[in-house]
């Protein structure tokens, strides 16, 4: 069964938060929703889990018992211990006693939180808190796991661990939807939705998005302080240049765009289209 949003439109008063957004969420796969702050990622996820009612379009989701959701805020009780947080989630999702102990143990080991069972949620580091929040959402082995920026503000090691947790859930059949501001995380998804100002700039598999980059992208051979043109951006010490018509200026060498380039080109193309 495939979950997700189809042509969803959400508005708050006069402001349109989502405009014709489609986000697929297939079983055993990870969908990454990428976008900057205010792009509509959280609204997208809230519409998916039922916290926001769409004005148009359709939403397919499992019954509540089969959804796991980690909001952008902590998603755990700061004044409960790790174990007590797990106990609350287990009771809320009515997990049978035998299964509960086994699942808790499994997730605590996988998140590296087994040694801090008795520590208060609020006393955990940022990364540990996000891992615990993910563990709480995974406890009942949901059909649909929705995580809102689980890796924002998390150190690189914890980030890798979190992604391992997410991938493992997908490997066991869960449909996972992750929102992130980190473009490089998009490549971890089987499908990617690139959001900007409530609209989809590009979507598809990471490969398809790379193949779909219009025009050509080049590297300014001699990195200088002078920007080569309006359709260029800094990468490291050099410049990248996008040529929609395929004609790169002199001194710019053609290169295969990576995902970072694809995102910038999509935004530039959207701006040009406006």
């Amino acid at each position: 069964m495939t979950w997700g949003l189809t042509n969803v439109r959400v508005g708050f008063g006069h402001r349109i938060a989502l405009d014709g957004v489609t986000v697929p969420a297939g079983p055993a796969s990870v969908t990454v929703v990428v976008g900057g702050d205010g792009a509509g990622k959280s609204t997208c996820l809230k519409a998916l889990v039922g916290l926001v009612r769409p004005q148009e379009g359709s939403v397919r989701r499992p019954a509540r018992e089969r959804i796991g959701y980690v909001p952008a805020t902590a998603g755990l009780y700061a004044d409960l211990t790790v174990q007590q947080n797990l106990d609350f989630s287990a009771s809320a999702y009515r997990l049978p006693a035998g299964q509960r102990v086994q699942r808790e143990q499994q997730l605590l080991e996988r998140t590296g939180l087994a040694g801090v069972r008795r520590r208060l949620g609020g006393q955990l580091s940022g990364g540990m808190q996000r891992k615990l929040a993910a563990a709480l959402a995974l406890l009942h082995a949901p059909d649909l796991l929705v995580l809102d920026e689980p890796t924002t503000g998390v150190d690189p090691v914890s980030r890798v661990e979190l992604w391992r947790l997410i991938s493992a859930a997908a490997a066991q059949g869960t449909a996972v939807v992750v929102a992130t501001t980190y473009v490089n995380e998009a490549a971890r998804g089987a499908s990617v939705v690139l959001l900007e100002a409530g609209k989809v700039l590009a979507s598809g598999s990471p490969d398809a998005i790379l193949r779909g980059v219009p025009g050509v992208v080049g590297i300014a051979a001699r990195a200088g302080a002078v920007r080569p043109g309006p359709l260029s951006w800094r990468r490291g010490t050099g410049w990248r240049v996008w040529a929609p018509d395929g004609e790169l200026p002199a001194g710019v060498e053609r290169t295969a765009p990576d995902f970072d380039d694809a995102v910038v080109v999509a935004e530039l193309a959207a701006q040009a289209g406006r």
């Binding site: 019954a63 018992e65 909001p71 902590a74 809320a92 059909d143």
Partner: protein, 363 residues
């Protein structure tokens, strides 16, 4: 410094509720409490019984307000009228003396009545053959203030616990974002509210027991009535105050706002519930406020049961009104809370498709 002043005003303008608290509230409070703060009693409900009842009733002048004249009844009827709160003064005729029974739980009314009786005796002198008047204060013979205050204070403390602590508990969930997560969990709105309220209800019940026991131990306040009647009144009253707490939380974005609102609800209860000033002495324009405050009815119940052993049959009115308030307040709280927990509309339907393994929502 001006940069700071300008910034402060701009921030203040955003927080309309605080501005209202600072400007409108003091004016409203002054007017309301000015009319309510009145120790003068002008109207004392009086019942006259016995063979000479008609004659005695005719001779009574304000502040005595004769509500009932029963010539063929005696002391027992007079006492039960006081016990049931139908009268504050009962005049019993037909004996060698005229007995005037006074309800000692109504401090100001009794003091006014005593003064009026003394004045009456002085102006009338002692006419030939008139039987002597014998006053008897019931339930609180020494007119001890703490006896009257403790049953009311118990209610006031419960208002603090119920309204403030509950609203803070719910608002904290919203601030930390856990409310959002609860909304996604397979919990019904009423389960969330019940689960949220139940612990506070238990704590408040323990609180109440402690307050009453301490009141009895330290201040010698009697508990003459039925514990079950008292418990019923307390339970209904607690449901109203806890419901108010939830209601406050649904209209507050943060703990500061919740505290402000809770105080706006608690302050009138201190002054308008009959805890300090007699409700009957208040100007009619503000008296109606007393009648929508739960503490007004709890005080009637707690003073009645503890001091006068008022039976449940005489307390159906405050008990019924508390029950009505509980239904209205909790109903509103649940409705608002449910709307917050279920913007998609699905939480409102209990017929959640549990049998299906999915749901499709088309807008």
């Amino acid at each position: 410094m001006w940069a700071m002043v300008a910034k402060e005003f701009r921030q203040l303008r955003r927080d309309r509720r605080t501005v209202a608290m600072m400007i409108v509230l003091p004016v409203v409070l002054l007017v309301v409490f000015g009319y309510a703060a009145n120790f003068d009693v002008h109207d004392i409900p009086t019942v006259v019984v016995g063979p000479g009842a008609r004659q005695a009733a005719a001779s009574l002048r304000p502040p005595f307000h004769v509500t009932d004249v029963v010539p063929d009844a005696g002391t027992a009827t007079a006492r039960s009228k006081l016990q049931d709160g139908q009268a504050v003064v009962a005049v019993v005729t037909g004996g060698t003396d005229v007995d005037v029974l006074l309800d000692g739980t109504q401090l100001f009314s009794v003091e006014t009545a005593e003064g009026a009786l003394a004045k009456l005796a002085a102006t009338r002198g002692a006419p030939q053959g008139a039987p002597p008047v014998r006053e008897q204060i019931l339930y609180n013979p020494k007119l001890t203030t703490s006896w009257v205050m403790v049953p009311g204070l118990a209610g006031l403390i419960l208002v603090f616990v119920g309204t403030l602590i509950t609203s803070l508990g719910v608002v904290r969930e919203r601030q930390t974002g856990t409310l959002e997560q609860l909304a996604v969990m397979p919990l019904r709105a009423r389960d969330v509210i019940a689960g949220k309220i139940a612990p506070y209800l238990m704590v408040a019940a323990v609180d109440l027991t402690a307050i009453v026991l301490i009141g009895m131990g330290l201040f010698g306040v009697p508990f003459t009535g039925n514990v079950a009647t008292f418990a019923l009144g307390a339970a209904l009253f607690l449901l109203v105050t806890l419901g108010m707490g939830v209601l406050i939380s649904t209209v507050s974005q943060n703990q500061g706002q919740a505290i402000q609102l809770a105080f706006m609800i608690m302050l009138p209860q201190v002054l308008l519930s009959g805890l300090i000033f007699p409700v009957t002495s208040m100007a009619p324009g503000v008296r109606w406020i007393s009648y929508v405050l739960p503490l007004t009815y709890f005080i009637q119940i707690s003073r009645g049961v503890m001091l006068k052993a008022t039976p449940i049959s005489a307390l159906w009115q405050p008990l019924g009104l508390l029950a009505l308030l509980a239904v209205v307040v909790l109903g509103l709280a649940i409705a608002r809370f449910r709307r917050e927990l279920a913007p998609s509309g699905r939480r409102g339907r209990d017929a959640e498709p549990r049998d299906r393994d999915s749901e499709a929502v088309a807008a």
